[in-house]
Symmetry: C2
Subunit: 138 residues, 2 copies
Amino acid sequence: MSASTEFIKKLRDSGLRPTKQRIKICEILFNSEKTFHFSINKLVKLIKKNSNEKISLATVYNTVHAFKKKGYLKEISINSMQSFFDTNTSNHHHFYNLDNKELIDIHDHEVEPIKINKEIPGKRIKSIELLVKIENKN
Amino acid sequence: MSASTEFIKKLRDSGLRPTKQRIKICEILFNSEKTFHFSINKLVKLIKKNSNEKISLATVYNTVHAFKKKGYLKEISINSMQSFFDTNTSNHHHFYNLDNKELIDIHDHEVEPIKINKEIPGKRIKSIELLVKIENKN
DNA sequence: GTGAATGCAAAGGCTTTGCACGAGT
DNA sequence: ACTCGTGCAAAGCCTTTGCATTCAC
């Protein structure tokens, strides 16, 4: 079974019509073994590089949000001006390299379990996200 | 010594001219014993409520960024659409209440020390930020 | 055929910029 | 006086929206 066929199935199974554009974006995001981080901007560039026909910006936004909603992508926000999406949706954390503005994964098993000694009545923890900013030693 | 006098000194000491606008914003942000979280939007509203003369939006942005640069404010980013400033610049973490979109402090001593078993060659850790998203139990 | 998705351009929200005017030293 | 800060409106950037067209089922 080709990769595209899988994506078509995956899309259909999650209630998203497997359009040409969505399949293309799947191929770009999910074809590699390795997961990676991207901004909308970078994704648009990848699409341009990867394909002769362009995908409308609105469609790129729609698709990324649809994928995020379905849980195929995770958003990592650095600050009001910078936000990334991550094709790795498993539980994990990030280094943020201040010098080149890139993210590096920290796998869950690379962090000692985080214990918070504070509770908010009536609330439950939905997620714990650790962002470790790093910079060059001198 | 009045609070204003202190602010004037503090501003001058950090190389910021103690203008009427900056003093006003200091009064709003740093007069209370308690620290708090705010968005630019909320700050603008506080200024309106607190003062008869308005401060230009550009000045509010300039001032907040100047204060952040001087280390009097810390920025906490939730996602690409939401970012807060914190008058508490000490080492600490946050709960983010998904239901009402508000931040709650988690003091450093309320979290067991975070240990990361991963190093990036040539890099040093600048900061560790924990964001714990919480929601209503059912 | 019908509803969903796409593409385009326009609109929107938030933030920054440019420049003349005003205020602090 | 000189420089820095402010205010305003305009420009910018990123994202969303509206609507006609196209596509999947």
